[in-house]
C-alpha cells in the first residue's frame, strides 16, 4: 500500500541496487516514528468534545422534563409557598417551566443563565434554603463514605481476583462463590443484620447517622474520630456486598490473559512468578476493570439510597428520596443534575486513565 501520509509502520520494499544487501537496508524498516508523546492529546480532545455535547444534552433534557409535567402541579407548588422572595420565585419559575409567558427559546436562555449563576432554586423541604446549599451539605458524606468504600472494594477485589486467577484450580477458587453469594444478599438485610449484631448486641458501633447527636461538623480529632466510628459499618457492608463483582471480573480476565503467548514467553525467559503475575498478567487483565471502576464511581452519587435509609446516613440518596416524597421539584431537579454531572466526570476520568494504561489506545485509527 502506498501511504500518502504515513504514520504507521509499513513493510516497504526497495528496488535492488548494485550489491544490494537486504540485511543492511532492511525491508522491515519503518517510516520514521513521529514523536510519540505520552499524552494522547488528539484522543482526549475528541473525547472532550463528545462529553461537552453529552453535558449539553443532559442539561437540555433536564430543562424539558418539568415542562412536560402537568402545569397544575407546579403552580400548586408555588401557590403553597407565598413567603418566597420574588427573586426565588422567579428562579423557580425559570427552572420549573412556569414562565410560559416567555417564548420557549427565552425560557431556555433563562434556564442556562440561572444554572451558570449557580442558582438551582430553593428547597421547599429545607426551609427555602438554596438547593445548591442543601446538596452541598449532603454530597461530601455520600462521596466520602461511598467513594472510600468503592475504592477499597475495588482494590481488595482486584488484587484478590488476580491471585485467585493465578492459582486457578487451588482452594482459593472457593473465594469466588463465597464473595458472589455475599453480593446477592439483599443489601438492606445485610445492613440491618450488621446493625443488629454489632450495634445492638455487641454495642461496638453506633446505630446510625454520620456523627454523634449534638455535634456539628468541624475539623477536630474528636469529630473525625466520630465520623470514622459511625462510618465503619456502612462502609464495611458496602465493601462486603460489592467485593464479589470485582473479584469475579478480575479473575475471569486473568484466566483469559494467562492463556496468551506473552505469559508463556515471560516464563520461558525465567521470570520469577511474582513478576509474571503482577507485571505481565495483572497489568493486562486490569484494563477492563479500570473502566468498570470509573463507571461505578459515576453511580456513587445516586446509588446508595438503601444504605442511607438503613443507617440514616445524611447522604444525597436520602435527600432525593425525601424530596420526592415531598414533591420538592426544585431539589429533585438539582439532584438529577448533580448525578448526571458526576457520571460524566467519572467517564472522563475513565477515558483518561485508560489512555494512560493502555498504550494501544494512543494511536487513533487503523
Amino acid at each position: 500500500m502506498t501511504a500518502v501520509q504515513p504514520a504507521l509502520p509499513t513493510e516497504e520494499t526497495q528496488p535492488p541496487a548494485e550489491n544490494f544487501d537486504a540485511l543492511e537496508v532492511g525491508t522491515t524498516a519503518t517510516t520514521a516514528s513521529k514523536g510519540r508523546s505520552r499524552i494522547p492529546w488528539r484522543f482526549l480532545g475528541g473525547r472532550a468534545l463528545f462529553y461537552l455535547f453529552t453535558l449539553w444534552a443532559a442539561v437540555t433534557i433536564n430543562f424539558i422534563l418539568p415542562r412536560m409535567m402537568k402545569g397544575d402541579a407546579v403552580s400548586a407548588y408555588l401557590a403553597r409557598n407565598r413567603n418566597i422572595t420574588p427573586e426565588a420565585a422567579d428562579g423557580l419559575r425559570a427552572l420549573l417551566g412556569l414562565d410560559t409567558d416567555k417564548s420557549l427559546f427565552e425560557q431556555y436562555i433563562d434556564y442556562w443563565a440561572h444554572l451558570l449563576r449557580g442558582d438551582l432554586g430553593v428547597s421547599l423541604l429545607h426551609g427555602l434554603r438554596p438547593v445548591t446549599e442543601v446538596i452541598s451539605q449532603s454530597l461530601p458524606w455520600t462521596i466520602g463514605l461511598v467513594g472510600f468504600a468503592t475504592i477499597v472494594s475495588f482494590i481488595i477485589g482486584t488484587i484478590g481476583g488476580a491471585i485467585v486467577g493465578w492459582r486457578r484450580g487451588s482452594r482459593l477458587d472457593a473465594l469466588i462463590p463465597i464473595t458472589t453469594f455475599l453480593s446477592t444478599i439483599p443489601y438492606f438485610w445485610l445492613g440491618l443484620l450488621a446493625i443488629a449484631v454489632f450495634s445492638v448486641n455487641l454495642k461496638l458501633f453506633p446505630i446510625g447517622k454520620a456523627y454523634g447527636v449534638g455535634m456539628s461538623p468541624e475539623f477536630s480529632a474528636e469529630f473525625i474520630g466520630q465520623v470514622i466510628h459511625h462510618g465503619f459499618l456502612p462502609a464495611a457492608t458496602i465493601i462486603i456486598a460489592s467485593l464479589g463483582g470485582w473479584m469475579l471480573g478480575m479473575r475471569n480476565m486473568m484466566l483469559t490473559v494467562l492463556d496468551e503467548d506473552y505469559i508463556m514467553v515471560a516464563q520461558a525467559k525465567g521470570m520469577p512468578n511474582r513478576r509474571v503475575l503482577w507485571g505481565y498478567a495483572a497489568r493486562n487483565a486490569v484494563l477492563p476493570q479500570v473502566q468498570s471502576f470509573a463507571l461505578s464511581i459515576g453511580f456513587i452519587v445516586g446509588g446508595t439510597i438503601v444504605m442511607e435509609m438503613v443507617f440514616s446516613y445524611p447522604g444525597v440518596g436520602k435527600l432525593l428520596l425525601d424530596a420526592t416524597n415531598a414533591k420538592d421539584y426544585a431539589l429533585m431537579q438539582g439532584v438529577f443534575l448533580v448525578i448526571t454531572l458526576s457520571v460524566l466526570v467519572a467517564n472522563i476520568l475513565a477515558d483518561v486513565a485508560y489512555a494512560f494504561l493502555d498504550p494501544r489506545t494512543r494511536q487513533t485509527g487503523a
Binding site: 502506498t2 501511504a3 504515513p6 513493510e11
Partner: protein, 269 residues
C-alpha cells in the same frame, strides 16, 4: 465463454490518523472462463483488496469491474445474479464455515437461495457436489465442521462455492492454512474442477511455487500496482521486474540450492 474484466481499478482507503492509503492503483486484468490467473503478492500488496472488490464487498474508488461486458450493479437482483456467477473460497477453513450448521445445510443454502435446481432435487444435488470434491456424502453430509479435518473443510467450502454453478472462482490463499501434505491434493482438485467445469479461476497467493504450477498466467502485485505479468514460466523463470526477481531470489528453492553447492553440503551460510 465468459469474460471478467477488472478495468483500471483504484481503491483508496481513508484511515483515521494515517491519511489516505492506496490499496490498489490502476490495476487491470481480464479473466476468461477456462483460464487460471495467479495473483501473487505479499502482505500489503492489494491482493486481498482485489478479492473484496471482485466479490463486491468493497467498491472501487475509480475504475470498473465488468462481467460479459456489463458493469456490476451495486445492489438488488442484478448484484445477486452477479454473485451467483462469481464465488469465493476463503483462506481459513475454520472460519468460513458456521460451526452450528451441518455440511448439508452449508451446501443447501446456495442451492435454495439461487434456485439452482427444483426443490425435490436438492438432496441429490448435495450428494453430487460432495462427490465432485471427493468426499463421501453418506459420512460427511450430516457432520458439523469441527468434526472434519482442515482439508475436508476446505473441500466443503469448494463444494459450496460450486453449488450455484458459477463461471468464476476467486480462491484466496485456499491452502496456506492446511497441512503441507494435503495442500497439493486440494490444489489438484481445484485444477481438475476448473478444467471440467470450464471455470475461470483467480488464484490469490503469496507462494510463487504453487502459483507457477497452478496458473497459466501470473500477475505480480506490489504495493497496489502490477509489477509484472506474463505466462507462469516467463514470470517465474525469467522475471524482468526487479521486484519479481527479488521475490524469486527470496523463495526457498532447494533444487537450485543443491545444484549450486554440490559437494559442500547445504545450508545458507
Amino acid at each position: 465463454m465468459s469474460l471478467l474484466e477488472f478495468d483500471a481499478v483504484t481503491k483508496v482507503y481513508s484511515v483515521r490518523g494515517a491519511g489516505q492509503i492506496k490499496a490498489l492503483d490502476d490495476v487491470s486484468f481480464t479473466l476468461e472462463s477456462g483460464q487460471t490467473i495467479g495473483l501473487v503478492g505479499q502482505s500489503g500488496s492489494g491482493k486481498s483488496t482485489t478479492a473484496k472488490i471482485l466479490t463486491q464487498l468493497e467498491t472501487p474508488t475509480s475504475g470498473e469491474v465488468r462481467l460479459d461486458g456489463r458493469a456490476i450493479p451495486r445492489h438488488g437482483s442484478g448484484l445477486r445474479a452477479y454473485r451467483q456467477q462469481l464465488r469465493m473460497v476463503f483462506q481459513d477453513p475454520f472460519a468460513s464455515l458456521n460451526p452450528y450448521h451441518s455440511v448439508r445445510h452449508h451446501i443447501e443454502r446456495p442451492l435454495r437461495l439461487d434456485n439452482v435446481v427444483p426443490q425435490e432435487q436438492i438432496n441429490g444435488e448435495v450428494r453430487r457436489l460432495l462427490g465432485r470434491v471427493r468426499l463421501d456424502p453418506a459420512s460427511i453430509a450430516d457432520r458439523r465442521p469441527h468434526e472434519l479435518s482442515g482439508g475436508q473443510r476446505q473441500r466443503v467450502a469448494i463444494a459450496r462455492a460450486l453449488a450455484s454453478r458459477p463461471k468464476f472462482l476467486v480462491a484466496d490463499e485456499p491452502v496456506s492454512m492446511l497441512d503441507v501434505s494435503i495442500r497439493l491434493g486440494v490444489l489438484n482438485l481445484l485444477a481438475d474442477l476448473q478444467r471440467e467445469e470450464g471455470l475461470g479461476v483467480l488464484y490469490i497467493t503469496h507462494d510463487l511455487a504453487t502459483a507457477r504450477h497452478f496458473s497459466s498466467e501470473i500477475i505480480v502485485l506490489n504495493q497496489g500496482r502490477i509489477a509484472e505479468r506474463g505466462t507462469a514460466d516467463d514470470v517465474i523463470l525469467r522475471p524482468k521486474h526487479p521486484y519479481t526477481q527479488e521475490l524469486r531470489a527470496a523463495s526457498p528453492d532447494p533444487e537450485k540450492f543443491f545444484a549450486s553447492t554440490s559437494g559442500i553440503g547445504g545450508g545458507a551460510r
